[in-house]
Amino acid sequence: MNVLPARTSSVRVGRRRLSRDERLGYLLILPSLGAVFVVVTIPFVLVVIQSISSEDGTLIGLRNFTRALENPLLYDAIRATAEYTVLVLPVEILLGLSFALLVHRTVLRPGLRAAIYVLAILPLVVPPVAIGVVARLIYAPGYGVLNVILERLGLMHQEVNWLGDPTLAMLAVASVDVWQWTPFVYLVLFSGLQTVPRESVEAAQIDGANWWAQFRYIDLAYLRPLFVLIIFFRLADVLRVFDHVFILTGGGPGTTTQLLSLYMYRVEFKFFDAGQAAALAVLVLVSFSLLYSLISRALPLERA
């Protein structure tokens, strides 16, 4: 007798609270989302308007787009960006994963783990400009310390022209990215490995699973959503790469390391071709939105 009314009343209370909470939810979320939406959308609208206008503001249709697409330098930039991405992404993920596994399995002393953490954090806190300068001090012809070391170790007899050869220059530029971002990948994956439940690992070990099987069936399953996120963040970052390339090679030799970000910067701030720059921006924004909608399907969001 006592139990039943109590239960119905709690259900009623629950239902009432639900609708109130829902209202509260919307009340909190909508203004902030709305504000952010407006702040994000205005520049986008401005870019689109700029992209179909000439310098004096008259609408000229798609002429800026044809100019942007007819420019052979655009394709050099796309090629360079693709090369850079293909070089950088797999290396960072493989290296980051190897170190995460290595440290997770073999380094158990908390002090050492802490030291590795600090080391891994460092590249994330050095200003990119300083990284560029250090990279230049390492790779530069003449006073570059890499050549000095290679020479003293007897590994090199003739000066290696790291920044003047197209292939080496691209590798040099990519190596800086790998140096800076592998630790990030490591940190994310290492954190992920920490969350793999001990029971599943122990169960697998009892079942006689070897090193590889343990990794393949347990760790990897847990890490999969993180891989997607990492690939996502790093892809988004490819268009942010700027400082170290600018200082290290300035896009050279020729235009071999002129990534899309450098190229857009050049059109905007060297050529002061606002129309073409806006057209490029629109093209990049549209293709990245498409890319995003493809990737976002794989994002670990559904298990909400």
Partner: protein, 441 residues
């Protein structure tokens, strides 16, 4: 029930309010930074970071103590200064009362109408002690040479006063070679003669864009090549132009330092200063900043400075690289800024400025024996200025052209393309760019 809801509501608003309060507070805190006063208490100068603005930083405090006006110098590296100025001018911002400008930027700022005319607004006149080319370079539209189509018919005004009398020159080790090279053939012969392991016969400043462009233009001109002719026709793929770049990127490159495609001025000066190279082109700022600098250079007193050697055209053409001071339209302190420029170029003050490492334009100072003692390149600079050095094409498209041309030269230095292919492609790109900008093609 009602009352609870109301209380709930109040609390929700309080929550939202609490989270949002910092925003207006900060907004307010930030927007109180710009007081409007009628009397000038501070002058802000946008300057280029490096040897060019060093002396300015030294004399500015002197002016500050004389005038009571606070002098604030904001420094930017070369590339960023230009972008910063253009964006600030587009915004008609009042951030800067004075700006340092490299002379090839003059056309862009002139076309934009970004600067206050110094002659009509502040009564500047030409001083006979200063070569006329120095005033010409600060005048827009240009008093000689081709004028951009959009600028024809505009009335000429003086917009910039040179405070760094840069002209590109040539330097070589006089302790090794007894006679100065008089032609680029001599330069090549010397390069071959003095080149040995770990000592380079010639230094190419070949880094993409501005460096490669600046390094090669004097050679291009001395060979009779050019970027444009007098009616804006692109000449980059002419035989003379191709010969000039072939000379630099093939003949001279044989004796040049490895990795030339990535060498900028600082790298070149290091090679010269540690005694590992024989000769190169040079700017005065490199001489004072590195090559003749105590505690840094090992070749002090061993270098000779001469105007650019002659090419097959029979002329040796130096390149102007003057740094000017101008007053942005947006500045609210125009007359105070003008007073500072007038103070700075007064003969006595200019002398103090030069004693602090400044590069003068006054003939009297350039020929002053005492100053020449400390600055061994002064005679060469005086000669170069007197010989009417070339300036870079007076078009607001120059930065685009320089980027295209400087990339082509870099490609040739790196051996990615033959000089002919690189220049032909560059010429086509420049033609497209100029046509789009409304120039005759």
């Amino acid at each position: 029930m009602q009352s609870i809801t109301r209380r709930e509501f109040v609390k929700r608003t309080a929550l939202a309010g609490a989270l949002l309060t910092p925003i207006p507070a900060i907004l307010e805190a930030c927007s109180t930074g710009t007081p409007t006063t009628t009397k000038t208490t501070k002058l802000t100068i946008a300057a280029v970071q490096g040897a060019e603005d060093g002396p300015l930083k030294k004399v500015a405090p002197m002016y500050q103590s004389q005038s009571g006006i606070t002098m604030e110098i904001v420094e930017f590296p070369y590339d960023q200064l230009f972008e910063k100025l253009v964006t600030t001018f587009q915004a008609n911002g009042s951030s800067y009362d004075l700006c340092m400008m490299d002379d090839p930027w003059m056309p862009k700022f002139g076309t934009m109408g970004a600067l206050q005319p110094l002659d009509s607004n502040f009564g500047f006149t030409r001083d006979s002690d200063i070569p006329s080319i120095v005033y010409d370079v600060g005048t827009w539209p240009p008093p000689h040479g081709p004028v951009p189509p959009s600028e024809q018919g505009k009335s000429q005004h003086l917009y910039g006063i040179t405070i760094v009398g840069n002209v590109e020159m040539f330097m070589y080790r006089k302790d090794l070679a007894t006679t100065a090279p008089s032609s680029w053939d001599d330069v090549l012969a010397n390069a071959m003669k003095f080149n040995k392991p770990n000592f380079y016969g010639y230094v190419i400043r070949g880094k993409a864009t501005n460096p490669a462009s600046s390094d090669s233009l004097p050679i291009l001109w001395s060979f009779g090549g050019d970027i444009f002719d007098t009616s804006w026709k692109v000449m980059l793929d002419s035989t003379e132009s191709i010969d000039a770049i072939t000379f630099l990127t093939q003949s001279l490159k044989k004796y040049a330092e490895p990795g030339a495609a990535n060498i900028d001025a600082a790298d070149r000066d290091r090679l010269i200063a540690i005694g590992q190279a024989f000769q190169s082109t040079t700017w005065p700022a490199e001489v004072t900043g590195v090559v003749e600098a105590q505690g840094v250079s090992q070749v002090i007193g061993k270098m000779a400075y001469i105007p650019i050697p002659k090419g097959p055209s029979g002329k040796g053409l130096g390149m102007m690289g003057n740094w000017l001071l101008g007053i942005p339209k947006g500045s609210k302190n125009g007359s105070a800024a003008a007073d500072f420029i007038k103070w700075l170029i007064k003969s006595d003050n200019m002398k103090t400025y030069v004693q602090n490492g400044g590069i003068p334009t006054r003939t009297s100072l350039l020929n002053d024996p005492a100053l020449g003692q400390a600055n061994p390149y002064f005679p060469a600079l005086a000669q170069s200025l007197a010989a009417q050095p070339n300036w870079r094409p007076r078009t607001d498209q120059w930065n685009a052209v320089e980027t295209i041309y400087g990339t082509a030269v870099n490609q040739a230095v790196a051996g990615l393309k033959s000089p002919k292919d690189a220049l032909t492609a560059a010429a086509a790109q420049v033609r497209t760019a100029m046509k789009q900008a409304g120039y005759p093609s």
